[in-house]
Amino acid sequence: MNSNSVLSMEEIREAGVCIVALAGRIDSTNANDVTTRLTNLISSGEKSIVVDLGAVLYLTSAAFRALLVATDAADRSAAKFALCSLARNVRQLFEMGGLLELFTIHPSRQEALAARG
């Protein structure tokens, strides 16, 4: 990973749900790290994952692909996979790309957890 891209990933477990909090920029230099982290969680048997994008500054098409790959892997493993807390500019990217309907998206982490429960 390029050190300049400044992406951080943090895992938290809450109410039986694995929350992956991403922060910084996600582009082609680090999107594979996101894919690997998420698909590893799914293949290790994780059945409920929420990716918190609240601290993501921006993402490029590489990030969308990484999230789609994870969604696809979760579907095949019968795991629940959702995104939450999209900042205004990040949500605008999803809208502009016509990508909103490809993901399950919750307004906040609390609402994502409630939906999982």
């Binding site: 300049n4 582009d27 082609s28 490029t60 098409s61 969308f64 692909r65 990508l99």
Partner: protein
């Protein structure tokens, strides 16, 4: 029975057809309604709200019938001909309001935006009526309308040359002209004219009621403050003898219904008035721009910048309406500043009300009693209504001006424009020595102020474009540095936050995709230039061109193919830039991203 059901079915199909024409097209992006509005642009309020709102809009619009009234009185017309002009005026206003409310097609701003007769046309129309009577007023107003129509076709491209502060200046000066017209009306058209006691009492009472209701009334009466003030003015006029019993009995003896006639309408033209009326058409277009922009801000919670497509359609509709008004033999009109205030005050912005306003205006046009009430309007009542609305229009102009950062360049443009207006108003003989052909340009305060402001704006644009460049090493890319480079320079230029965000994403996404898929040879070059209204970002690299599709790739394409991922990048970049283009071959590619500011 077939004979009875057939016409009914026919009527239903006609109504259904009309309904479908007036409905919002399915592909329309609906504006997010601000919390301050009770009914948004595309919402349909209850029927009662629609008709009460329509009546209020017609009440506001009626006040500005004073302009054709002033011109008709100046032409020395008898009361029956004045009434005919006002009837036709209501029909012209109905057409104008309907054009602006149309939900589709190339005409109209698609807003609840009634039109009014305007002070913009007052000075040149007074000149025309003196030179050639009403036919010359109507002929030259057709010309001004055609100028506005022509301008609407290129209005988006003229944006850098007609900035918002200049449009705000025109709105302010139109307000000033209306205020001066109020004084002229009450001082009986003479520089040494003194205010009579009768006029002073009537105008003072009417103005006091309007101001008191506007400032201290917290309820619905505030919305009707001008109308109530005028009613009080009529009553006081009766008490002081400005209105007589004969006037009232004449009103009561009028027929219930009367149709206007076009038999006295004719049109003449005078080349010496071409320039003042051309500038009037320009001023009307600038006024419409300011009004439609205000509506856009009022009705869209996510508003960030003027929608030039809607503005150009609004100017187009405005020009057509002014031309129709002149063909009908009335007076020049524009989209109403005063009615924006009504929409803001009531929170009812539904476009559908525009059709109800049109219907009420047509009904009003056929009512001789209503027209009669307007034709006998006492001069001090007229003056009070004009003065009251003038100050609100002036402050609207100031608000539009103050939305811009007023640097030295803009201060000089606005200040010199204002000084030109004041100078010619105070010293009307200042330019009597100017060449004959230039006289129409330098003797009208509004025309001169508009020309001075637009000319200085054009002059001060010299040297405004700024440019910065950077190089990105594909093997040691530093996204933080690229971000800082864009933020730092755009910040220095005073670019808007939303535009900076779009530039940053589009540039980072372009560089990201180029490095990932286009195997660039050597450094990627980034040039960004700025000229206040436009920011261009140019990304150049040695390598194959990217694809920028107009449709997004499917989920499967993104997941399964490298091309799908690249097309998603290209699609997002295309969506984020206002315009874009790509040139080059496998050796050198240039991606140009254009952002309106």
């Amino acid at each position: 029975m077939p004979s009875k059901t057939a016409p009914k079915a026919g009527l239903h199909s006609v109504l259904a057809k009309i309904g479908s024409l007036l409905a919002i097209p399915a592909d329309r992006v609906i504006a997010k309604k601000p919390a301050t509005l009770a009914y948004g642009l595309d919402e349909r309020p209850p029927v009662v709200v629609i008709w009460i709102s329509a009546a209020q809009h017609v009440g506001v619009v009626s006040i500005f019938m004073v302009y054709p009234l002033i011109i008709a009185r100046e032409a020395g017309l008898p009361p029956d001909q004045i009434a005919n002009i006002l009837q036709l005026g209501f029909i012209a206003l109905a057409v104008a309001t309907l054009l602006q409310a149309l939900p589709r097609g190339p005409i109209g701003s698609r807003l609840l935006a009634p039109s009014i007769f305007t002070g913009v046309y007052l000075a040149p129309s007074l000149l025309a009526v003196k030179l050639g009577g009403l036919p010359l007023v109507w002929g030259m107003t057709i010309f001004a309308g055609l100028v506005e129509i022509a301008l609407s076709r290129v209005w988006s491209r003229l944006r850098p040359f007609i900035p918002p502060e200049s449009a705000g200046l025109v709105v302010f000066l139109v307000g000033t002209i209306i205020g001066l017209a109020a004084l002229r009306v009450v001082l009986d058209d003479g520089p040494s004219g003194a205010l009579t006691a009768q006029d002073g009492i009537v105008a003072g009472c009417a103005l006091a009621v309007m101001a008191a209701l506007n400032i201290w009334n917290k309820g619905r009466l505030k919305l009707f403050c001008i109308l109530i003030g005028m009613v009080v003015g009529y009553a006081v006029s009766g008490l002081v003898g400005l209105l007589t019993l004969h006037d009232l009995s004449d009103l009561l003896n009028r027929p219930l219904l009367a149709f206007p006639t076009l038999s006295r309408v004719s049109w003449t033209f005078d080349s010496s008035l071409v320039l003042p009326f051309a500038v009037t058409g320009l001023a009307a277009a600038m006024n419409s721009t300011a009004v439609v922009t205000t509506y856009q801000r009022l009705t869209d919670a996510d508003w960030v910048r003027p929608d030039m497509t809607s503005i150009a359609r609004g100017v187009f509709g405005d020009g057509i309406a002014a031309t129709i008004a002149a063909l009908l033999g009335t007076y020049g009109l524009v989209v109403s500043t005063a009615n924006v205030g009504l929409v803001a005050a009531t929170g009812v912005a539904s476009r559908v009300i525009g059709f109800a306003v049109g219907a009420v205006l047509v009904v009003a046009a056929l009512q001789p009693t209503l027209i009669g009430v307007l034709t006998i309007m006492p001069r001090p009542v007229m003056a009070a209504a004009l003065l009251f609305t003038a100050v609100f229009i002036m402050i609207s102009g100031v608000q539009i001006i103050s939305t811009r950062v007023l640097d030295g360049r803009r201060t000089l443009v606005i200040g010199m424009g204002m000084m030109s207006f004041i100078g010619v108003s105070v010293y009307p003989a200042a330019f009597t020595g100017a060449p004959h052909w230039a006289q129409p340009l330098v003797t009208s305060p509004l025309v001169l102020a508009t020309i001075v402001a637009l000319s200085l704006n054009l002059l001060f644009r010299i040297g405004i474009r700024r440019k910065v460049e950077a190089a990105v090493d594909p093997d040691a890319r530093d996204t933080e540095s690229i971000s800082n480079f864009i933020e730092r320079n755009a910040g220095i230029w005073g670019a808007r936050r939303d535009v900076i965000d779009r530039i940053e994403f589009a540039v980072q996404q372009t560089i990201d995709a180029v490095i990932a898929f286009c195997s660039p040879k050597g450094p990627i070059r980034l040039d960004i230039s700025y000229d206040e209204f436009v920011i261009d970002a140019v990304v150049s690299y040695g390598g194959a061109p990217m694809e920028f599709p107009t449709q997004p790739p499917t989920r499967e394409e993104i997941l399964d193919t490298e091309g799908g991922h690249l097309r998603l990048a290209g699609f997002l970049i295309r969506r984020y830039a206002d315009r874009m283009g790509v040139t080059g071959d496998n050796d050198q590619t240039v991606v140009r991203l254009h952002f309106d500011h």
